[in-house]
């Protein structure tokens, strides 16, 4: 097996990011969308940590810590909004949350 380098991690990050994107774009369930968003943030973190380790530059880890914190805040807000959608629509199917258009 060939040795593992930075680009392996980056490629994995890219894959993870795109999978997250796919989830965000396709899942009708709002919470599933939130889960997918977390994937995207994780992809970023994976990139940052890999850079931090291979460059090497500690700042990447620092940035990753911040990203985790931001992701936590985003999740909080997301859950609150999902609950708000649920209360008003009695469902959380994003595809049917379309009273405004045009």
């Amino acid at each position: 097996m060939s040795p593992i380098g930075l680009n392996h991690f980056l490629a994995l990050g890219a894959v993870l990011f795109c999978l997250g994107t796919y989830g965000v774009l396709t899942r009708r369930n709002a919470i599933a969308v939130l889960l997918s968003l977390e994937l995207m943030f994780n992809a970023v973190n994976l990139n940052l940590v890999a850079f931090a380790r291979f460059m090497p530059n500690l700042d990447g880890v620092v940035l990753a810590v911040f990203v985790i914190a931001v992701a936590a805040a985003e999740a909080t807000v997301g859950v609150a909004l999902v609950l708000s959608i649920y209360r008003n629509f009695r469902h959380i199917d994003l595809d049917q949350v379309d009273t405004m258009k045009g």
């Binding site: 380098g5 680009n7 045009g102």
Partner: protein
């Protein structure tokens, strides 16, 4: 004044000159936003501010008067449109020279007198409209302050564009104040007329400004004057300069109500009387004269005939004559004064046109005092008699002694009786015209106008102040009421339909009367027996300023007595306001002076002879004497009709053409275009599907497309050696 064109910076008292316009503007803001509900407070604010301005301008004036300083100016870039271009920066500046210092003092002083007078006067007008109340008073003083600000800004303007801005601002204020009682149809119409008619002139003005400014690469007055001191500037032809000057003069024609754009001013008498006094007699209408004086070198380039100046002179002469003839037949006291204003402005223009810079400016100043006096006096009379109609007055001398005295002084000054102010200034203009080469015809026209002036003033005076009080009676049927207006040919819409020039009807003359609530209309003039409601003297707040102004009307003339008269007085005015390169050396001629005394006395004598005893009989004799021209004069030389018809006809024809063009060409093009634009909009709008994931998709799609667009993905990208190595080896 222009010996030393190099301008100095503002120094001494002049360094504070910015306060002069600023204070009234602050008053306007305070009144608009803070003291609106309290009319008296607003009045106090306005008057206080103006007093402050007066103080500063008096200091500035004193500084200019005592020191022989060059013009002072300061300017800051205001809007930079193109930094490197000489015309790219519009500047805001202040120009203080002798002329503007004197104008400042005049505007502030007259304005202050008028505002004090207004505190009492405006309440009598408000009383006619009980629903208006205190807010109206605030509105009045707010706009008066705004007007004062604009006028002072106009006077202090340092360049043509700046003066144009203030020019339009005073126009706006005039519009607002003429239509002050905006719910009165006639007032609203008159305001509109003033606005529209002066706009014709302003169009030319703007074109002239641009021609001159662009050709000479600069707009500031001192720079322009300097360029003309050596004659026509290089690269320009005399014709070009004359055309530009004439275009600029168009603005003056509009604002100073010169023939043929004078038609708005009589209608502007719809405004409250202090407005007429301040704006339509003393200050704003003088702006045109001021402008011509400011640009004097442009009208009289050294070493050239000055075709534009000739036009100015003759327009002035025609206006002076025309308005004087019309004034003879007016029955409305304010209209007599309005036409007299037009006529006097014509005198000033004629003076400036023949090169009488000093004399024109001098008449501007003296006229401001005695004409505002006359207007305020007429206001007092109107308040006392509840009517504008001269035929409902009479005998007021006994009832209103203070007003009578002040008014009489004003009349004498206007009539040109020595040694009152109007005599000296008018006489000086006449003297110049007399001495000007080829000016004899103009001199005769003006002299005849002066005779007419003395005559109609006397008529007005006797009708209003002498004889018995006729307040309760209707005017004799044959004396009141105009000749039926000229009917227009059928295909042309009437002027009223076009809102251009409302025809004069009796309704309009007495409309202020007609619109009064029944309770106060005439205060029982028609039905209550004569004698019960004799006119009473107005409050001291009103006659006080009248007396102050009367003082000036009597004595101001001595500031400018020609040295040749031999009174031993130096000619202060000429020492203060003069041009280095004035066209004609100032010689004093006894002929015109004596002639003008003679015509003034003759006019007075004729007037007194006709109207002293039985005014009705006098009027009938006058009419029979003038029966050939009477309808002509009564219809104001049919100029309003001409305007209405010319405009109406042209506009109607134009409208038909435009309607066709619009229906057949523009509509198709515009609606076709608009339709297609809209359909694009609709198409794009359909992208907003309302589904959030669709939005997210578009977001990312845009990212991907942009990435592809800037060459992130090129052919062979994924087969490149680096890519393969990195893929296989992990970038080690």
């Amino acid at each position: 004044m222009h010996e030393q064109v190099a301008a100095a910076a503002l120094e001494g008292a002049a360094a504070n000159v910015w306060l002069v316009p600023l204070l009234p503007f602050l008053a306007f803001l305070i009144i608009s936003f803070l003291t609106r509900p309290w009319g008296r407070v607003s009045a106090a604010v306005s008057i206080l501010a103006l007093t402050g301005s007066l103080g500063v301008s008096a200091q500035v004036f004193w500084q200019r008067f005592t020191q022989d300083a060059p013009p002072m100016q300061v300017a800051v870039p205001w809007i930079t449109l193109a930094p490197d271009h000489p015309l790219g920066t519009i500047e805001l500046g202040l120009l203080v020279d002798n002329l503007s210092a004197m104008m400042l003092l005049m505007v502030c002083f007259v304005g202050l007198c008028i505002q004090i007078y207004s505190t009492a006067y405006i309440q009598t007008e408000i009383a006619h409209f009980p629903t208006q109340g205190s807010a109206s008073m605030s509105r009045f003083f707010g706009w008066m302050s705004l007007f004062t600000f604009s006028m002072l800004g106009l006077v202090l303007s340092h360049n043509l564009l700046e003066i144009y801005i203030f020019w339009e601002l005073v126009g706006l204020c005039s519009y607002l104040l003429i239509g002050f009682w905006y719910f009165k149809h006639s007032a609203a119409e008159a305001g509109k007329k003033a606005f529209v008619v002066t706009r014709f002139g302003d169009l030319g003005f703007l074109m002239g400004i641009l021609m001159l400014g662009v050709a000479l690469k600069g707009f500031d007055f001192l720079g322009l004057s300097q360029k003309f001191t050596q004659g026509i500037p290089e690269g320009l032809t005399a014709g070009f300069v004359a055309l530009a000057a004439v275009l600029i003069f168009c603005g003056a024609i509009g604002k100073s109500a010169q023939f043929p754009l004078h038609v708005w001013l009589p209608d502007a008498m719809e405004g409250p009387t202090p407005v007429s006094a301040l704006i339509h007699a003393a200050t704003m209408v003088a702006a045109g004269v001021y402008l011509v004086a400011r640009l004097f070198p442009v009208f009289h380039p050294a070493g050239h005939a000055g075709e534009a100046a000739l036009l100015v002179a003759w327009i002035g002469g025609i206006t002076a004559f025309l308005a004087a003839t019309i004034a003879v037949v007016q029955n409305d006291i304010k209209r007599v004064l309005a036409y007299s204003t037009i006529s006097q402005l014509g005198f000033m223009m004629a003076g400036l046109g023949v090169g009488a810079y000093t004399a024109g400016s001098f008449h501007l100043i003296t006229h401001a005092f005695f004409k505002s006096l006359l207007f305020l006096g007429s206001g007092a009379v109107i308040v006392a008699c509840h009517s504008n109609d001269l035929w409902r007055m009479g005998g007021l001398r006994r009832h209103m002694p203070f007003t009578w005295f002040a008014f009489l002084m004003g009349c004498l000054a206007l009539a040109g009786v020595p040694p009152l102010a109007g005599f000296w200034s008018k006489d000086e203009i006449l003297g110049y015209v007399y001495a000007a080469p080829g000016g004899m015809a103009l001199f005769l026209v003006l002299t005849f106008s002066a005779f007419l002036t003395a005559f109609y003033v006397t008529r007005m005076y006797f009708l209003a102040f002498e004889g018995p009080y006729r307040g309760a009676e209707k005017a004799p049927a044959d004396l009141a009421g105009p000749v039926p207006p000229l009917s227009l040919p059928a295909p042309f819409p009437t002027s009223q339909a076009l809102d251009v020039a409302p025809e004069w009807t009796e309704e309009m003359a007495t409309s202020s009367q007609e619109d009064l609530p029944a309770a106060c209309r005439g205060a029982g003039m028609e039905h209550v027996p004569h004698g019960l409601h004799a006119p009473k003297e107005v409050s001291p707040w009103m006659w006080g300023p009248l007396l102050v102004l009367a003082l000036f009307a009597v004595f101001l003339g001595f500031a400018g007595v020609p040295t040749g008269v031999g009174l031993g007085l130096p000619n202060f005015f000429e020492g203060f306001i003069h041009l280095s390169g004035e066209g004609h050396p100032h010689e004093f001629h006894w002929t015109p002076m004596l002639l003008s005394v003679v015509v003034a006395l003759a006019g007075i004598a004729l007037g007194a002879g006709l109207f002293a005893g039985n005014p009705e009989r006098g009027e009938r004799r006058l009419r029979s004497g003038l029966r050939l021209v009477w309808p002509f004069l009564q219809q104001k030389w049919y100029l309003d009709h001409l305007w209405a018809r010319a405009l109406a006809g042209t506009m109607y024809a134009g409208a038909l053409t435009m309607a066709w063009i619009e229906a057949n060409l523009v509509d198709r093009a515009v609606f076709g275009l608009a339709g297609s634009v809209r359909s694009w909009g609709d198409w794009l709008r359909s992208e907003h599907t309302g589904k959030v994931q669709h939005y997210a998709l578009m977001l990312l799609l845009a990212l991907v497309l942009l990435a592809v667009g800037i060459g992130m993905v090129e052919p062979g990208f994924f087969t490149s050696r680096q890519f393969v190595i990195n893929l296989l080896e992990g970038g080690r």
